[in-house]
């Protein structure tokens, strides 16, 4: 998967694969090593949503070119 992103797990230092779009919708992603679940805190959803919308728009513009 080309777009797969990873966050370092703060507990076991492993890598947690996640999908940014789903993460923003409140989906939690589990660390494959220690099973800790990472999700975005509700107070940060707005700030990341607006950034992601801008990103999505740019991606659409690029796709049209």
């Amino acid at each position: 998967m080309i777009n797969e992103q990873k966050i370092p797990c703060p507990i076991c230092q492993g890598q947690i694969p996640f999908d940014p779009m789903s993460l923003l919708q409140g989906v939690g992603f589990a660390c494959p090593t220690c099973a800790a679940v990472v999700s975005i805190a509700p107070e940060s959803i707005d700030i990341s949503k607006s950034a992601m919308n801008a990103y999505r728009e740019l991606k659409l513009t690029n796709a049209k070119k």
Binding site: I40, Y55, L58
Partner: protein, 206 residues
């Protein structure tokens, strides 16, 4: 209106250097990629950073991490599974799918018809005026210069059956893959990750 009516639309195009034929679509893609990269930088600066009048400061988002902890294992009672939530900060840039903004993969497929092949005789660049095609300059640093053109099946079937017999056809696949994140950005993300890494608090003595 049709003042400029041409004598014929057909012109004698013997082909272009094969190097160029293959490189042209790729350079066009590189140009496009460059433009996209510039837009990407703008997007990142506007969305992942605040400008404080002097420099850009990264926007940080709050993340939560939930894990189950088993408590009271030694107390003889039933062990209790407790959910512990830890909050940590993460620079917004680190969850941005940066590399997917560019061109993932390019697959240009064309049938290449070799129309001419020349062996270099001298070191100096010279124009071959003896051949039937338009003159072209041989390159100093290569011994063999090949000319080719993109061939289409329609042409092959109709008019050029004879000329095909005297030329070779190659199938060319030009593939450009995705680039990984630039090392500079990876180092920044790494530095941030280390800076916000939680440390274990020493146990409080009771």
């Amino acid at each position: 209106m049709n003042k400029k009516k041409s004598k014929t639309n057909k012109y004698d195009f013997s082909g272009m250097s094969i190097d160029e034929l293959i490189a042209k679509p790729l350079t066009a893609i590189v140009d496009a990629q460059g433009k996209m990269a510039a837009e990407q930088v703008k997007l990142l600066l506007q969305n992942c950073f605040f400008f404080n009048g002097e420099f850009y400061e990264p926007k940080v988002i709050k993340m939560s991490i939930t894990r189950a902890v088993i408590e009271d294992l030694n107390s003889g009672t039933q062990p209790v599974l407790e959910q512990i939530v830890t909050y940590f900060d993460l620079p917004l840039i680190s969850i941005f799918p940066l590399n997917s903004l560019g061109i993932d993969a390019v697959n240009i497929h064309f049938e290449l018809e070799v129309t001419a092949q020349y062996q270099k005789e001298t070191d100096s660049a010279d124009t071959n005026s003896n051949n039937d095609h338009q003159g072209f300059v041989r390159k100093n640093n290569s011994n063999i210069e090949m000319l080719g053109k993109v061939s289409t099946k329609a042409i092959i079937n109709q008019n050029e059956a004879e000329s095909i017999a005297t030329s070779a056809a190659y199938s060319v696949d030009v593939v450009a893959g995705p680039l990984p994140l630039p090392p500079g950005l990876l180092s920044i993300i790494d530095v941030y990750t280390k800076a916000i890494e939680p440390t274990v608090m020493p146990e409080i003595e009771k």
